[in-house]
Symmetry: C2
Amino acid sequence: MSTNSKEAILAAARQIAQAHGYGGLNFRDLAAAVGIKAASIYHHFPSKADLAAAVARRYWEDTAVELEAMAAHAPDATAALRRYPQAFRRALENDNRLCLCSFMSAEVDDLPDIVRAEVRAFADVNVAWLAKGLAVAGIVAPDKAEARARAIFAAISGAQLMARSRADITLYDTLVDSYRAAGLLPA
Amino acid sequence: MSTNSKEAILAAARQIAQAHGYGGLNFRDLAAAVGIKAASIYHHFPSKADLAAAVARRYWEDTAVELEAMAAHAPDATAALRRYPQAFRRALENDNRLCLCSFMSAEVDDLPDIVRAEVRAFADVNVAWLAKGLAVAGIVAPDKAEARARAIFAAISGAQLMARSRADITLYDTLVDSYRAAGLLPA
DNA sequence: TATATCCTACCTAACGTTTGGTAGGTGAAT
DNA sequence: ATTCACCTACCAAACGTTAGGTAGGATATA
């Protein structure tokens, strides 16, 4: 069960970090969630920094796959863009959790360098996907796609954060609707 | 110097919490920043929860005063609204810090109830100010002012968070510009 | 005026708990 | 016979918090 345990640690650590952050992630609670002892985690990850970096890397890798699938299944680029908020909605659906990298962005001053790099990679993945979609859909001029993509990413992150603070997923939905009404997101 | 020490604790705790959050705020570092011993903080605040609640309350009180001053000094409601992003910019100017309540919103699962209540009050103050300005300026219909106000607050929070994660205040400015270009903020 | 009492604002020292991390061992599979 | 996956049993440091004490000022009483 070596591979399974490693994957189970990764999955459980992600859940914990999405609710309590890097600082709130600890080996004893994590081990208990997996069903092993705290010291055993060191068999799979040499340190907390390495664990968190692996979790964050896996997080953006999974997101990249998910976004590509969304683009592939949508009839066109505009339709794919319209579904983008759903990706962030899932964290809230999952017991009012936050995007892992939003939480870690807040904690950036206390993050090991290797973790910080993965957190930034997550934003890069999202912005690149959005920029490509915006350009292909012809919603903004190609030279302004990246700026708009960053704005959408930041706004969606903020909406998720605000909805989490109220534990109110319908607030997230109304915020997204407001972004659409205001013209930030394609209607 | 009793009053001064209490105020000094409040001010130092705010700075620390804006950089490290509620979880990252600890009595020893805080006491050192003030120039006293950790145990002495208990002379002024009965517990960490009470301290943090006092910090958060003072934070939204100060913000309310600042926003009212902004409205009073601006020539009209639209001009006041245009200056709103400046209020959030100041945290980034202050050593790349985050809005205290954005940080604590991420930590909401681990916050004592009395702290959580103050965090929500901060959002209420901002949304109420924005909604009033939007209605008076006639930018949106009065019955849609609060929804738009929430969207602006969430988007600005997200922009600040993203800029902090990159330690790049110019990113905040370009995000705000993008919000204006997209129509979310009054141009 | 002198003295006793109390309060404020801090201190040192320690409490029990939790933290990330280490050393070394056990049992099963290869 | 060795490696793998996990264990027990620790450790030092840091955490919020408490106990008890001290220096100095204010107030009240004699």
